[in-house]
């Protein structure tokens, strides 16, 4: 049952890819995309490991957790986008000013 571990590793890869993009890129829209990719990676790990024991139906608890997580991440993204637009109207830039290690 190792195709499950393939997807779990893919999830960890997406998590690290998103983390890298979140730290490296300055543009706020890209940071929001990076957060979404990170959350998709975490959900992939959650669901992939839930169907490890073949045969009986996959464990539904992670599935419920991921659906809750998807709705939470869409609401966080909506708030982040509106905050970015307000910030753009207020400062004219769409980056956080002093890009100390954020």
């Amino acid at each position: 049952m190792s195709y499950v571990y393939l997807y779990a590793l893919l999830g960890v890869g997406l998590f690290v890819l998103g983390l890298n993009a979140l730290i490296v890129h300055a543009h706020l829209m890209r940071k929001i995309l990076a957060v979404n990719v990170m959350s998709t990676g975490v959900f992939l790990v959650l669901v992939a490991l839930s169907s490890r024991n073949e045969g009986i139906l996959p464990d539904p608890v992670p599935h419920a957790m991921v659906i809750t997580g998807i709705v939470v991440s869409v609401s966080a993204t909506a708030l982040a986008l509106i905050l970015m637009l307000k910030l753009n109207r207020a400062t004219g830039k769409n980056e956080l000013p002093d890009r100390s290690r954020d």
Partner: protein, 499 residues
């Protein structure tokens, strides 16, 4: 140990229950504590015209619920409530013991102060947005302190983060928006680290409940990864030293009551989860990680104190003082004795109340003088005697001088560090106290100068000054009557028995 309230006397017999005890005993206060703020928030959202009175009413009702819960816990010890009647591995459990009771009590007490303060702080249109968000934040805090399911903690953390960001962004101005944006990104990053840790723990041991995980956990690479991820996520949200860069800007640029609730409550929520995890699931982690946390804590104490000394604006000084005071909480990890945990919890308790009073005082000064540059505060401080008394009383607790809660906490931590032979943590405590004395006195010294009071300072509503003073007096009360809160912490022995 008798609870010095009339109702909870030891020898009340079960048969002839007074009606009051009947009511107090039967009502599931643990659920009411979570549902009440949520309904209050919805009501404020539906009827914005009466949102102020609804908010105050809900804060008062939450205080009485905490009283009811305290009475119940005093009667029959730690309480576990299965939501939906399904029990731990399947459903979600709420768990209340001494530790969560103290946290909920602090949230309710400081929450009442913040509600009274902000009832006269916000103008009409801002108030319509403030009250629903604030009550949802209250509900998220109570849900977080009472839950014993690690995924449920993720959802409450997210609810807390979103409300806190929306409240910081209430203050218009590019500085507040920038810090709100950075705070939101940091929050989301921390929550995702925490969620990945939860995924590892769940798939290793098949359960999400803390109590069940505590029995099943044994060291394995997945558990080490989960410990690292969860600690990294929560330390990011608690703004421990290397990851504190987002806190000063967010806490200083937010409106005064919001920065009070951020410093007093929101930052402590992720520390509470780390403490709960550490006591139950992570004891297998070993000493090295605890020493690291202790080192980071002492670095936070020193760095925060030095930075606070160098600030030119009052709210930034108070925000850096939060960074430094949070360091004390982490000194308890390497000590690991039950006195040390009680000391850290008492420090958390008194810092929450003192810092809320300090930020309210800073808000009053800002409201009166229009600016908070420390250099020329003297003209404003002449006109605000109550606010400056509140600031200095709270400063006494931040410094850790005798009649205040801060002193009791530092005393417990000092005792633990001497008993366990790691005296250097005690040295950090004293050094931090000196730094705190320096930056508090730097502000208070402006009171003694004879600068003439400028005439154009605006009038500060009396309610805002009195709330700051009452909270500061509560900190002094915590110093004098220390036995009662310490007994409250003991219920359900969250820190393991022993001294």
């Amino acid at each position: 140990m008798n609870f010095p309230t009339g109702a909870g006397t030891d020898h009340c017999k079960r048969m002839k229950l007074l009606p009051m005890e009947l009511i107090l005993g039967e009502v599931p206060w643990i659920v009411v504590l979570i549902i009440l703020p949520l309904t209050g928030g919805m009501a404020c959202f539906l009827f914005p015209t009466i949102s102020k009175s609804l908010g105050l009413l809900t804060s008062l009702a939450v205080i009485s619920c905490v009283w009811g819960l305290g009475w119940q816990l005093e009667e029959d010890g730690a309480q576990r409530y299965a939501i939906g009647g399904w029990g731990a591995p399947l459903g979600i459990d709420l768990y209340a013991d001494g530790l969560s009771l103290v946290m909920v009590a602090v949230a309710a007490l400081v929450g009442l102060g913040i509600s009274v303060y902000s009832s006269s702080y916000f103008r009409r249109d801002k108030a319509n947005h403030f009250w629903p968000l604030w009550l949802f934040l209250c509900g998220a805090l109570n849900a977080l302190f009472l839950s014993s399911d690690i995924f449920n903690l993720y959802v409450t953390l997210e609810l807390l983060g979103l409300t806190a960001v929306a409240l910081v962004a209430l203050a218009d101005g590019s500085e507040a928006l920038t810090s709100a944006m950075r705070y939101l990104l940091i929050n989301l990053m921390g929550s995702l680290f925490y969620l990945l840790g939860v995924a590892f723990l769940y798939h290793s041991f098949g359960s999400l409940d803390i109590a069940i995980l505590a029995q099943r956990v044994e060291p394995s690479p997945a558990v080490w990864a989960a410990v690292g991820l969860i600690s990294a996520g929560l330390l990011l949200k608690t703004a421990l030293f290397p990851m504190h860069f987002w806190l000063p800007a967010a806490h200083a640029s937010a409106p005064a009551p919001v920065s009070a609730l951020l410093s007093a409550l929101v930052v402590k929520a992720s520390f509470y989860i780390l403490l709960r995890m550490w006591l139950e699931i992570f004891p297998i982690v070993g000493i090295s990680f605890a020493q690291l946390l202790g080192l980071l804590g002492s670095a936070a104490v020193l760095w925060g104190g030095i930075q606070a000394l160098r600030q030119t604006r009052l709210k930034l000084l108070v925000a850096y003082s939060t960074v430094s005071q949070l360091g004390y909480l982490f000194l308890a990890f390497p000590l690991g004795m039950s006195i040390a945990w009680k000391g850290a919890l008492y420090m958390l308790l008194s810092h929450a109340v003192a810092k809320a009073a300090m930020f309210m005082a800073a808000g009053n000064i800002l409201a009166a003088g229009g600016h908070d540059r420390i250099a020329d505060l003297s003209s404003i401080t002449q006109r605000l005697p109550l606010t400056l008394t509140a600031f200095s009383l709270a400063g006494i607790s931040i410094m850790g001088l005798p009649p205040s809660g801060g002193f009791i906490a530092k005393w417990l931590l000092l005792e633990a560090s001497i008993q366990s032979g790691q005296w250097w943590w005690g040295a950090i405590l004293l050094l931090g106290g000196l730094l705190a004395a320096a930056y508090v006195f730097r502000v208070v010294s402006h009171v003694f100068t004879q600068a003439e009071a400028t005439h154009e300072a605006r009038e500060v509503p009396a309610r805002m000054e009195w709330t700051a003073l009452v909270l500061a007096l509560v900190v002094i009360f915590l110093g004098v009557f220390a036995s009662w809160p310490l007994a409250m912490m003991e219920i359900g022995s969250p820190f393991g028995g022993g001294s």
